[in-house]
Symmetry: C2
Subunit: 219 residues, 2 copies
């Protein structure tokens, strides 16, 4: 199948995350599902957002970098790992974005974000919606949670799936939204819920649109 | 202070939830924070969304109604409480919406939704965004989570707050968005994250806009 970014999208989830260059571990719920846990364990480079470093270190790891103002880092870890802390002074954005920008500057574009959801709902909404901005900045980024992988997309994208796998599409700037391989038809959704609770009807699906949207693939 | 719906908005959180006529207990994370727990304990009428009834019953309660297809209700509860189950056949919407509509038909408009977030992110996004639709249908509805109260608003709304309390504004259809009593200025946000992480500068705040938006007040 032809897509506008070639065959690279049509990979299994495992193939996708094996190509990750760096992980951002944000300060939401620490991953417990086997898939994000494996992404974290295999990551060649890990940037922790401030307090997330505490739990990562407590589990026997050492981050490659810590982003934030150090406010929510324990005193002990501040003493031992303060040299890994990069303070980025920007009131206009959050630690997740600072971490992604820190990686993009180093040329690391294939990024997996973990721990981005599951606590405060405004953090969850903010962190998910920022994926669109990271895509605009050139990142090949996705968020792995304990329930799903969330992928920012533009125009035409295809993914491998299992029949009956639960899929949601959240529209941002797209029009002419339609799909092949999903059970229910898409339209130019104006509210988030309208694209939720779709499901795969085959072993791959393709979204065609003009513009940007998020794909949420539940495991 | 004048607002377009009078003084009723300018209540403390406790005054607000004491006026709730009914609670919808959705099938996300069961509430553990004292505030939603108290809303649930004091509710004069409780509708559970399918499987949420199991945990509610396990804790010694009996729902007034159960909405859903009964698929995720335990066999034991199906036998004992099947007479409370209202099967509403509508593939176009979810159990939370069926429960809200069930209440509106009975004339119960002051509704608190609990358990709407915290598991699958597509459910969280869908359930939060549906608040806008419920407001359009005439409900005076808000969602209480373990972190925040989420309130659908139109045009001008005022709320009591504590200085430094964390507030987020998610724009849906609004233009000319601005605020009094918040630390950072609003604009006509086009992405969700842009209105997050604001904070109260006084003991009340007012949002002025033309159109619809969500206010997230963190406890």
């Amino acid at each position: 199948m032809e897509t506008n970014d070639g065959a690279s999208r049509l990979m299994t989830m495992k193939q996708i995350y094996n190509k990750v260059e760096a992980v951002v571990l944000a300060n939401g719920e620490y991953p417990t599902h086997p898939l994000p846990s494996e992404v974290l364990a295999k990551a060649p480079y890990v940037v922790c957002c401030d307090g997330a470093a505490d739990e990562y270190i407590r589990r026997g790891n050492i981050p490659d970098a810590i982003i934030g103002d150090g406010d929510s880092l324990s005193k002990e870890n501040m003493l031992r790992y303060g040299h890994l802390l990069h303070r980025i002074n920007d009131q206009e954005t959050n630690d997740q974005t600072k971490a992604v920008n820190f990686l993009l500057v180093q040329g690391k574009q294939r990024i997996a974000i973990l721990g981005a959801t599951g606590k405060r709902e405004d953090h969850t909404l903010g962190n998910i919606s920022l994926l669109i901005d990271y895509m605009r900045a050139g990142a090949d980024v996705r968020t792995y949670t304990d329930y799903s992988v969330i992928i920012p997309c533009r125009d035409v994208c295809s993914f491998a799936c299992r029949p009956k796998q639960q899929i949601s599409i959240i529209n941002f700037t797209s029009r002419d939204l339609h799909a092949e391989g999903l059970a229910y038809p898409l339209s130019d959704f104006t509210n988030w819920w309208q694209g939720t609770l779709n499901e795969c009807s085959r072993t791959e699906f393709t979204i065609k649109a003009q513009g940007e949207y998020l794909v949420i693939i539940n495991y």
